[in-house]
């Protein structure tokens, strides 16, 4: 790379520089925190039952939220990809609202519907399901803030499936249901899974909406916050490191599985 390279590739060079800054901005805090942690304290934290149960609770609640989101969101994504109706753009815009509102505000909004004094809360309470300070509360908070990722990704996936493939399937004797399960769903599967992973990851990391509905039982992000508030940085750090490591491992594993599956 002589001097000439810089003069002929000024733009590429500038973009690499700018890109490197933002990349380091993401990586340095994460690496610094992981590397700065004392392995012994980290091990102690790993054996701390409160930490373990909060991480398991986080993964579990996010999984439930994602499952519910999958069952309700994928059909909606298909409708949005395949049909046209008046106000469709509005519906699509509203689905993305949870991404843009402050999540504490989202929590308040959920409380207004699922709180003990409100209609949905009362209805569910007749079935024995409470949302304030319960796992169910955590699940709906996660569901609310993370469902747009799944719907949007699945919708794009379905849009990429040529409508004529579905039509051919119908003429070959497949009902609309069979066509959906044999053609549309498998062909959109990669996008759907990518959205599902995003949704789960987003659920795991949710703090604002969860803390409004359920401070207890404590999900991992809330635990990090509580340790920081009560004991300070040194006590919050190992929990934070553990949470980051678990998130990265889960995220990378799932992505690898999906992308390998999509290749064949």
């Amino acid at each position: 790379m002589d001097k000439k390279w810089f003069t002929t590739n000024r733009m590429t060079f500038t973009f690499i520089l700018l890109g490197a800054i933002i990349f380091l901005f993401i990586m340095v805090p994460l690496l610094k925190m992981i590397l700065a942690s004392d392995p012994k304290i980290l091990l102690d934290t790993l054996l701390d039952s409160e930490v373990i149960s909060s991480i398991l609770l986080t993964l579990y609640a996010a999984l439930i939220a994602t499952t519910v989101g999958f069952l309700l969101g994928v059909p909606l994504a298909y409708l949005l990809a395949r049909t046209d109706f008046p106000g469709k753009t509005l519906v699509e815009g509203l689905i993305d609202v949870p991404i843009v509102v402050p999540h504490t505000a989202a929590g308040i909004a959920l409380l207004f519907v699922f709180g003990r004094n409100f209609f949905a809360g009362k209805a569910f309470s007749l079935l024995g399901i409470e949302f304030v300070d319960t796992t169910a509360g955590i699940v709906i908070a996660m569901l609310f803030v993370s469902i747009p990722f799944l719907i949007d990704s699945a919708k794009e996936g379905f849009k990429k499936v040529d409508v004529r493939l579905e039509k051919v399937s119908r003429t070959l004797g497949a009902s609309p249901w069979q066509t959906f399960f044999k053609i549309s769903l498998p062909l959109a599967w990669r996008s759907i899974m990518a959205g599902t992973i995003m949704m789960w990851a987003r659920g795991i990391s949710e703090f604002g909406a969860v803390i409004i509905l359920a401070y207890h039982p404590m999900v991992a992000p809330v635990l990090v916050y509580e340790r920081f508030e009560t004991y300070g940085l040194n006590y919050a750090q190992p929990v934070a490191v553990l949470l980051i490591l678990v998130s990265i491992i889960v995220f990378v594993t799932l992505r690898t599985l999906v992308y390998r599956g999509g290749k064949s």
Partner: protein
């Protein structure tokens, strides 16, 4: 066998008005029309894939206008990208048979038969994205035929193919039709494709069925300017290709014997583009194998070019520029010679 009655579709960009068609059992029926004439919508209406607001579809004497596509037994082959990409060639072909819950052995027999018919047995374990365009189209045909459809719909099945595969698949279509006699409705914008394959042709344009008839009727007696536009600027003849030995082939048509260069034999069609024919007042000595004397019967002035009809018989339409036309002083009733190369004659 299958009828479209008073079909009306309004999609803004194009309209189909009062479409009435009846296709007989075992017939190879062509719908010919320019791009954007609504041919695909017409086919999808017949298959039940496009909801009809006004009009009826009848199949074997029963109205099926509101019958779901999967209950009609009408299969369709589209222009391109139509195989299920996540399934192997074999799974594509047996897709319909699996849904019919056929016994395994019966399915294998049916698969084997259709694969042999289309000469794709060696492709069964491949994935669609590894196939050539021609192979894909054959697999799509096999898949459509596997369910033994009442009616086979073909939506521009040759248009996305390169010229070589197109000829191959076209020959395949004709052979399959001769063997299986499946009632077929084939949509195309290609006039020669229509003439080569169709037992009857419906010309679709400006939202209407302009004319229905045999290929000869369509190119000999077009009933409107629109239909004529498809045929007029070409010389198309029905006839027979005969081997005369020494590697020479001759196309016999009403009165004329044209030297041609083709591997095809039998009752076929020949076309010569008007711009490939030379006109001269005297016989030309050249390498071109075809040279005939005739009388100018008609001249159509198109501005910078003119269409000159020379009767041998039959009539040949030739294209000349205004400058050559004036230099030669051509006029109706005049005796002239026409010359064209054997390779300028397209046999199909």
């Amino acid at each position: 066998m299958i009828s479209v009655k008073n079909l009306h579709v309004d999609l803004g960009d194009f309209v189909l008005n009062d479409i009435n068609l009846t296709v007989d059992k075992g017939e190879y029926f062509i719908i010919l029309g320019p791009t954007g004439a609504g041919k695909t919508v017409l086919l999808e209406s017949i298959a039940g894939l496009y909801p009809i607001k006004s009009g009826e579809i009848w199949l074997k004497g029963k109205e099926v206008t509101r019958v779901a596509p999967e209950k009609r037994g009408i299969s369709i082959v589209y222009q391109d990208h139509v195989l299920f990409p996540h399934l192997s060639v074999k799974d594509n072909i047996v897709f319909g048979l699996r849904l019919q819950k056929r016994a395994r052995q019966e399915m294998e027999v049916a698969l084997d038969k259709v694969a042999k018919l289309l000469d794709i047995s060696h492709l069964l374990h491949r994935k669609p994205d590894t196939l050539s365009g021609g192979e894909r189209q054959k697999v799509a045909l096999a898949r459509a035929l596997s369910i033994q459809p009442q009616v086979l719909l073909l939506d521009e099945p040759l248009s996305a193919l390169d010229p070589e595969s197109r000829e191959g698949v076209q020959r395949e279509l004709r052979q399959i039709h001769n063997q299986l006699k499946v009632t077929t409705i084939h949509v195309t914008h290609d006039f020669e494709e229509a003439i080569a394959l169709g037992e009857r042709i419906a010309v679709l344009g400006e939202g209407y069925v302009k004319q229905i008839g045999t290929p000869e009727e369509i190119f000999r007696q077009p009933n409107s300017e629109f239909v004529a536009r498809f045929a007029m600027t070409r010389n198309i003849f029905a006839g027979e290709v005969i081997d005369t030995g020494n590697g020479n082939t001759v196309f016999h048509t009403e009165g004329a014997k044209l030297a041609v260069a083709t591997d095809l034999r039998g009752r076929l069609h020949a076309s010569i583009r008007p711009e490939d024919i030379l006109i001269s007042p005297e016989p030309l000595h050249s390498s071109a194998r075809n040279s005939f004397g005739g009388i100018i019967t008609h001249i159509t002035d198109k501005g910078s070019t003119l269409y000159v009809t020379v009767n041998l018989p039959p009539d040949f339409i030739c294209l000349v520029t205004r400058r050559s036309f004036e230099e030669m002083g051509l006029d109706e009733g005049q005796k002239v010679y026409i010359t064209f190369k054997a390779s300028a004659v397209h046999i199909f």
